[in-house]
Amino acid sequence: MIMYDIHDKTSLISNLFLSIIIPEQLFEPENNWEHKYFGIDTYSAISNPKIIRKRIELTIERKNQTNGFSNLTIKTERYCKSNFFFYADAELKCKNDEISTPLLWTYESKVAKRRSDTPYLKSGMKKNIKVAERKLIVETGEVSSKMELSDNYTCKWCLLDAIQRMPKVPDKSLEFKMIDEYDSIIGDQTLRFREAAKTETGNGMKDIYCFELLGPGTIPATYWIDSSGRLLFYLSGMELLVLTEENGKTVIPISIFSDWQKKSTFDLTLPG
């Protein structure tokens, strides 16, 4: 049994699709939209959905601009101890190309109890970042650094936008440098179309599509989208992102996990 095999009825991804209602409303990935993802660990998802905890929340908002550009606002909050969060927010100007190549962006991070709070214990940082002449230029305060970059590159979370507009054709494969998440280059990645499949969902058999991402520093990652291009699940090792909201409306209610547990055949125990 494996996590990613949609053709194996015991796999995590098959169980996830079986537990959700695929939205009927049309999604237009090339227009303006906002998606909110609920991030959980697959260990809990498989072993004991009763103890599923939100590990990360990611919101991505796309605003289409003129002349083939768009603005992405990506906000993440990771849950920390003592009711703190690690906030990492970015505003990116991107090309509307196949991998949403970012051209100019700001990145801000901190540990705080609320997004509006001042950073706790010197944990705040802001960077202005751009790409020029095949170099990633990162300005942090008064310090500026340059790192070699190729023509093809993108940021990890920009792919959540790009993947929704990507042609679903066999043999589709893209090579590029990955910036993780916004300011550090982790090397050559391959993004490729994996398959189109029909699978049982909470509202019947549906067409779904899968892309996969491989490369240094990347636990093999899969992107699962519906027929209108909507990215429903991102699954990579321990990390599972579930699309919970689209433009403020519920897409996949997180309660699926409690329903899912009743149907689940997984029987695993937590490590001691």
């Binding site: 996590m3 590990r55 920390c80 101890k81 003592s82 944990s123 001691g272």
Partner: protein
Amino acid sequence: MSKINRRDFLKSSALIGGATLFNYKKLSIASQLIEQKKPNFLFIICDQMVIDAISIYRNYFPDLAYTCHWTNTPNIDNLIENSVSFIESHSSNPVCSPSRSSLFTGRMTVETGVIHNNIGIDVNVPNLGQWLEDKTIYERVYCGKWHAGGQWNVPDVDGPRIVPGFDTLPNGPGDFGQFMDYGVAGASEAYLRNHSNRNPFLLVASFMDPHDICFWGPPINEGRNRGTDFFNLGNKLPVLPPNQNYSFKEIWHDAIPKSELDGMKWRNYLYDYGRMVERIDNYVGRLLKAVHDRGDDTIVIFTSDHGDGQGRHRRVEKWHPYQDSIKVPLVIYGPKFGIKKNVVDTEHLVQGTDILSTICDYVGIKPPPNARGNSLRPLLEGKKVSNWKDNVYIELQMTGRIIRTKQYKFVMAYKKSKETDRKTLESVFITNEGKASEFIPGEDRKFQKVPVKMLFDIKNDPWETVNLAENSKYKNIIEEHEYILHNEWENKLIPGHHFTRDYK
């Protein structure tokens, strides 16, 4: 914190010796200058990184089955090229909590009381943060995994679940590196960039990965098992180790049977492990850049609490006495403080307890009483050291002991002599009243008197395929190692008594 207060002043005065309050003003400035010259420390700890996972070590681990041939770690490679690193570097006990208790106290785990996971350090044994708090004006900040305070991983900012002697830069909640390590890197990088006080600092950035591999395969989880080349990785899937089918009579976890993990599953396991190592490499790169940007006024120490089985002897995780479990990276950077560049030390036997003594040496204070390590400073600065230790002593879970000498590794462990009424083995070390049972191997009625023994010739049999303990030719070698174990180590250790066993 930018002004020195009276308490700090008194500590500084004690440091420079012979000071009197009469000289307050003058000494206050003088002591500040002295403290300013002291190095900052960035102590990076990762979890479960086998030493041969670092790509620049390919020449030192030439067999293609070593993990370094299947990873790309440019940032750690760069660190090593500008540092002194140690190939013969060992964990003090290849399990998370015990190893960490030893790293931060300089004591062996029977002394810290942390003989198994989820037990807290004996309250009478000071950790590095407490020691620096008491003796210096260093700021001490902890970010990430701790796991030596009880049954919890990551510290709170206040309350009972803190790391004594440290302020907490909160992170976590802490079971999975894929969620938490990015925050550890980001918060630690920001601290490095923002710290501009006169007081020097010790920042601990403690990553969870590549520990996530624990959740990959048996015995814990089959959710990620891939018995085929599911992602068409082809020749990017690592080759299998040559010692997969060698296992010996032991008392630790059994080797994983072929029915649970076959060849392709192992190769996928190794592939994913390599990617976790590369992710950590990226985070290390962020921190190093911040150190360079602040003018290299910081000594960087990089290590791991223990290694990982890597499929060798059909093992995952740690817990066992083989090289992949007990050997860890140890890299120390600090060219502005006399530490040599590009030195890979293959000669000296070192271990986790040496780190505390080394930090104390650079700070200019004595280590806490009974610290078992040696300062690495002379080795780091290229000085000739004629009397460096000729063995390291490693504790192995609760009942095992290892003596590693230059050529050999001797292992012994005691089986339980009978079933106890406790549910777990760790409980035999702690009485029903919560006190330590002061176990020293062979002396407790709950254990058999005759241990299981193993002896490996590490020089000539690096993959540990022949247990020489069964060969009478090696009787003298075994006796020599037993002598070292009993007379140089066990007789001088002081078992812990007062554990903070917080199971809440």
